[in-house]
């Protein structure tokens, strides 16, 4: 269970990205975080694994306060949190296999990783995951040879090989076409289901979020505006999160697709 208590982040520039956010994510729940650009979605998930240092508040994962950990305890805690990035963030000049195995870096020593001598169990798991995301043939390709959708599948495999309890997913579909976006979202949600993973998925595409998750949280200017099931997202709620617009098209479209 992930629990955020009064989580606040104020950047050095004075921008308040998060204002005392309280949020609970039970084990195994997939949650979509929506909101306009600059609402603090990315900051929120980065505060969870402390790629961004929160200014105040607590992040409790399984009862442990992440915000108070020293650097080596933080590294151990990060192993429990897989992250999937916008624009994939694969190390482009490494092979697909190295990218996937990099998810095990927190578990192996420096020299083993330096010499690429990962334990056989890790290598086997990497092959299983690549097979699961449909990229077994690509193991020895360099990451920059893959298409966008393929790269994001590698990103997913890299996060899952950590064997995490929680997935932090930052705009996984931002640079993908609509069909690939759906495939990627479906894959992430299926894998969470298979492995009983909790996930926070930042996503711009409201319709896509409604299609795949059971719970949606809306943010605006660093504060939570909405927390509920996808069918409670009415034009009023969207106006509260994003501001005045004609929302009918967004929502009806989703209902048609769901049916």
């Amino acid at each position: 269970m992930l629990k955020l208590e009064k989580l606040t982040k104020t950047y050095a520039t004075g921008d308040k990205a998060l204002c005392a956010v309280d949020l609970e994510v039970p084990n195994g729940q997939v949650l979509a975080l929506i909101g306009p650009s600059g609402a603090g979605k990315s900051t929120l998930i980065r505060c969870v694994n402390r790629l961004v240092e929160p200014t105040s508040g607590k992040v409790l994962l399984g009862g442990e306060d992440i915000t108070s950990l020293g650097s080596s305890a933080l590294r151990r805690a990060r192993r429990n949190m897989g992250m999937i990035f916008q624009e994939y963030a694969l190390v482009e000049r490494l092979t697909v296999m190295e990218n996937v195995l990099s998810g095990r870096l927190g578990f192996v020593g420096f020299w083993r990783s330096f010499l690429r001598k990962f334990p056989q169990s890790d290598v086997d798991e990497a092959f299983r995951l690549l097979d699961r995301v449909g990229l077994l043939e690509m193991a020895n390709k360099r990451a920059d040879e893959l298409s966008g959708g393929q790269r994001q599948r590698v990103g997913i495999a890299r996060a899952l090989i950590q064997n995490p309890e929680l997935l932090l997913v930052d705009e996984p579909t931002a640079s993908l076409d609509p069909k690939t976006s759906r495939q990627i979202m479906r894959l992430i949600c299926e894998l969470c289901e298979e492995r009983k993973l909790a996930a926070i998925i930042n996503i711009h595409d409201v319709a896509l979020a409604q299609m795949f998750v059971q719970r949606i949280v809306g943010m605006k200017k660093g504060e939570l505006q909405f927390d509920g099931s996808p069918d409670l997202l009415t034009p009023d709620v969207l106006t509260r999160i994003y501001g005045e617009e004609d929302w009918k098209a967004t929502i009806t479209k989703v209902e048609e697709e769901v049916e």
């Binding site: 694994n49 790629l51 590294r75 151990r76 805690a77 990060r78 192993r79 949190m81 992250m83 990035f85 916008q86 624009e87 963030a89 694969l90 190390v91 482009e92 000049r93 490494l94 190295e98 990099s102 998810g103 095990r104 870096l105 927190g106 578990f107 420096f110 990783s113 330096f114 990103g155 890299r158 950590q162 932090l168």
Partner: protein, 271 residues
């Protein structure tokens, strides 16, 4: 913009705004530059009598290239070249090994402030002192010979490689490095997986370039007594043996050009 002003603007000329907006500042700067240049050129004295004598000497030097003499001091040239190559390779390797940690420390995005300042100071110190000046100091400390040249070139390589490596690290794609950090990797693993693959082509390219520079510098350092082919070259100048000097210069030029060609191939391979 309202339509009335649009109407007014249609059909009128458009000119790019001046880089320096105030006309006073602009004309003052242009005027000042012209006046400075006039005085500067007038202050350079040319002794035409001296030039006419010098042209004859210069011509003898250049015409020696038509008949370079590789043989009469063949062993000196060979020994000088061997010394230069040893100096070049050894100083480049040592330079690279030392500049990698300093380069990491001099990159603001990965190093904490105190380390950053120390490394930047080392870089600045190494770059502020010209090779010749360092070489004179080293010759004073270690005596004539290639050891002084080796230390000088290593020292100069550190400033060059660390600075450019640090700048490359500062420009790298943060997302890739962040993704590796998020896996719970240690600092060394993070450098090895998140940073190194991104800067490797540049590091290899720079190292090859530095090898090239160090070889050329080794020819110059001989002039102040730091050994290598430069010492041989200096001796031949002192004895007015322009044909031997021409032979040495031809060897240097050929070597530099082949190094350039080689580094081109290697850089294309590692992209």
């Amino acid at each position: 913009m309202s339509s009335s002003t649009l109407e007014a603007k249609l059909g009128t000329q458009w000119r790019k705004p001046h880089f320096i907006k105030s006309p006073y500042t602009r004309y003052a700067l242009i005027g000042g530059t012209i006046i400075y240049l006039v005085f500067a050129f007038n202050s350079i004295e040319v002794n035409w009598l001296r030039v006419s004598e010098g042209l004859v000497r210069g011509w003898r030097f250049i015409s020696a290239f038509a008949s370079p003499d590789f043989l009469s001091h063949g062993t000196d040239i060979r020994d000088g070249m061997i010394e230069s190559v040893i100096m070049t390779v050894a100083s480049t390797v040592v330079g690279i090994l030392i500049s990698i940690p300093i380069g990491l420390g001099a990159a603001r995005n990965i190093a904490p402030l105190p380390i950053y300042l120390v490394c930047r100071t080392i870089v600045a110190l190494s770059r502020a002192l010209n090779e010749i000046i360092v070489a004179i100091l080293m010759v004073a400390i270690f005596g004539f010979g290639p050891l002084a040249g080796f230390i000088t070139l290593s020292f100069a390589s550190i400033g060059f490689l660390s600075k450019l490596l640090a700048e490359d690290i500062e420009d790298l794609d943060r997302a890739q490095a962040e993704a590796i950090k998020a896996t719970g990797s240690s600092w060394l693993q993070w450098i090895n997986y998140g940073i190194q693959p991104q800067v490797m082509p540049r590091l290899i390219g720079l190292s090859m370039y530095r090898l090239d520079i160090n070889f050329r510098e080794s020819a110059v350092l001989g002039l102040v007594g730091a050994g290598g082919i430069g010492a041989t070259l200096n001796t031949s100048f002192d004895r007015y043996e322009y044909d031997t000097a021409a032979a040495i210069l031809l060897i240097i030029i050929t070597t530099v050009m082949s190094l350039e060609y080689l580094s081109g191939i290697i850089r294309a391979k590692v992209q």
